[in-house]
């Protein structure tokens, strides 16, 4: 719930309770006094100002581009540097005037101009060799700017450039790219320090991108099963995220919640992708690193259950375990038969994810679980070849088992209440 929506709901509740005589006026005022002032959102004037600024910047760039080759090289270089300095100068001025959103945006624009400067200097001085190195430079500079100025847009630029850098290195070297994990961890530390929703979401998206990139690295390098690697990394996001939600510190708990939620969505889509055989493993090897990540993911989820004394993380751990077993491809299947056991395990894993979300009262995880169930059923429908009758029988049996389980649970919960 956004801060503004919470304040509106709280105000409505306080007014209602006062009217019903449940809350004395002094208590209501005392509650209001404990709340921090609502941070000013983006106003219409700010939006119009941003559009104006972007148009001026675009006009400036178009003018420079039209006359670029006619300008002497040292002057071109000076223009690029002036662009960087100008953007950050504007950011400093906005920051002093407490226009934080504009200051944030200015730092982001400065980071984009920095990236353009790298590309143009590369062109001017014929540095066409190492594109990935240029992207690393861009990502590093933008990350430094984000750390210094607290700019979310600079962080977004850094993470996007970082993902492009990693993708390019994977393509160049035909191998996985572990340095991206270190880069992401630095970004994660920033998100923890800032404790803002935007930064948490950015890091979580980058982590998902990292999982996909690792899968492609496995394919390119023919090192091991890409399916298992992707599912292991998103499982780690779920497990480690759940463990972080049991720690002290509001920032750490919030970060853990966001990470585990994105991991849950990654798990749902990744598992469906495994069932639909989107990425066919060139080799079925399960590298030690992937196995290690998977183990840490499961242990973390169980550790979260012990620390929080809740059943939700236990079911999340079971969900992770089921998904990893399916992705490993280790379940034996008779020749000519469909992997019915794998399909059943995938559906069970997603059901566990839904129930885990319900027990922890985390709606996004419930949604992820439902999405995973739907995607897995669609993937099973897609993947099954041959007899449609067998597919119908499988889905009917799975449905009957779920209904039977629901009745049993209903009776157990009813008995527990009595």
């Amino acid at each position: 719930m956004s801060e503004r929506a919470y304040r509106e709901r709280l105000e409505a509740d306080l007014t209602r309770w006062q009217a019903e005589g449940l809350l004395p006026p002094k208590s209501a005022d005392a509650i209001r006094a404990t709340l921090r002032p609502v941070p000013e959102g983006i106003t219409i004037a700010t939006v119009v100002g941003i559009v104006g600024g972007l148009l001026i910047a675009a006009a400036f760039l178009a003018f420079i581009a039209a006359n670029w080759t006619a300008i002497a090289r040292p002057l071109r270089f000076a223009i690029l540097l002036a662009g960087i300095v100008g953007a950050y100068g504007a950011g400093a001025l906005f920051d002093r005037a407490e226009r934080t959103h504009l200051a944030d945006l200015s730092a982001g624009v400065g980071s984009i101009i920095f990236g353009a400067a790298i590309a143009l200097v590369g062109q001017m001085y014929h540095l066409g060799d190492d594109f990935a190195g240029g992207l690393l430079l861009w990502a590093s500079g933008a990350l430094a700017a984000a750390a210094l100025t607290g700019s979310h847009s600079a962080l977004a630029v850094a993470l996007a450039a970082g993902c492009a850098w990693s993708g390019m290195r994977i393509d160049e070297t035909a191998n996985v790219h572990p340095p991206f994990a270190i880069f992401s961890l630095i970004g994660a530390m920033l998100a923890l320090a800032w404790n803002t929703a935007a930064s948490r979401h950015l890091i979580a998206v980058a982590a998902l991108a990292g999982a996909v990139l690792a899968g492609f690295g496995m394919v390119q390098g023919r090192i091991g099963s890409p399916n298992f690697t992707v599912v292991a990394i998103v499982s780690l996001m779920v497990g480690a995220g759940l463990l972080l939600t049991t720690r002290r510190g509001v920032a750490v708990r919030a970060f853990g919640l966001t990470l585990s939620t994105y991991g849950a969505f990654g798990l749902a889509i990744g598992l469906a992708g495994v069932i639909a055989e989107i990425l066919r493993p060139v080799t079925p090897n399960l590298p030690y690193l992937s196995l290690g990540i998977a183990a840490v993911a499961i242990i973390s989820a169980f550790a979260a259950a012990v620390a929080a004394q809740r059943a939700g993380p236990v079911l999340a751990a079971l969900s992770i375990t089921g998904a990893l077993v399916v992705a490993s491809g280790l379940i034996p299947t008779a020749a000519g038969e469909e992997p019915w056991l794998s399909y059943a395990l995938a559906l069970s894993a997603m059901l566990c994810l839904v129930v885990s979300g319900m027990l922890d009262d985390v709606r996004p995880r419930i949604v992820a679980g439902w999405l995973g169930l739907a995607a897995t059923i669609a993937a099973v429908t897609w993947a099954v070849q041959g007899s449609l009758l067998r597919r119908a029988v499988f889905l009917a049996v799975a449905g009957l088992v779920a209904v039977a389980l629901a009745s049993l649970l209903g009776r157990m919960i009813g008995r527990g209440r009595r």
Binding site: P74, G128, D129, G141, T173, N175, G221
Partner: protein, 199 residues
């Protein structure tokens, strides 16, 4: 400790942080240029003969694609030795033969060179993924030296590419002691057409 750091950081005016961010990025861009200028100023000059490129390659934007006689070479002693896969750094020893420098041998690490020889650093973009593990050097290597692109003013590239494919284009490269190379001069029929300024 963290509390002390927070107090210290909060005492610094915020515009300083913006200035520092700008300074870092300006320095990084400046280092790119400084690095290139250093190679051009301090490197040994070698003249390399270009080779025709597949005529189906189009001029990409405003740059000319260049390949050299030293681009495709036999791996020699490196054959069947371990590599890091595509992009493995290699060092090629060049010696002067007539008007141009030609490849003498390829090495996985820098080696001493005699008078008149130059060691140039490149990356094996092909021929480094042989064997069952795809991590051995093959019989022949395709090596990139970072001098395969030359940006030219618009509309001037096609004439250069035609001449390149007729074998008339050669390049004077500056090779630093570290092995890194930069294009110093583009020659057409032996005559300079493009000269890299010092800065």
């Amino acid at each position: 400790m963290i509390g002390v750091l927070r107090t210290l950081l909060s005492s610094i005016p915020r515009p300083i942080f913006f200035a520092l961010a700008a300074l870092i990025q300006v320095v990084l861009v400046g280092l790119m240029v400084y690095d290139r200028v250093r190679v051009l100023r301090e490197g040994s000059e070698v003249t390399l003969q270009t080779r025709p490129v597949d005529p189906r390659d189009l001029l990409r934007g405003d740059y000319v694609v260049l390949t050299y006689d030293i681009t495709n070479l036999p791996a020699g002693d490196l054959k069947d030795t371990p590599s890091q896969g595509r992009g493995t750094p290699v060092f090629v020893k060049l010696a002067r033969k007539g008007d141009f420098y030609e490849a003498v041998s390829v090495h996985a690490a820098p080696v001493p060179v005699a008078d008149g020889e130059v060691l140039i650093r490149g990356r094996a973009t092909g021929g480094a993924n042989c064997g069952s593990t795809h991590r051995l050097f093959c019989e022949r290597l395709h090596v990139n030296y970072g001098i395969e692109r030359y940006f030219v003013p618009q509309d001037e590239g096609k004439a250069i590419e035609r001449s390149r494919n007729e074998g008339q284009v050669s390049v004077v490269a500056s090779v630093a002691p570290s092995g890194r190379a930069a294009i110093k001069r583009l020659l057409l029929g032996g005559k300079p057409v493009y000269d890299e300024p010092k800065f």
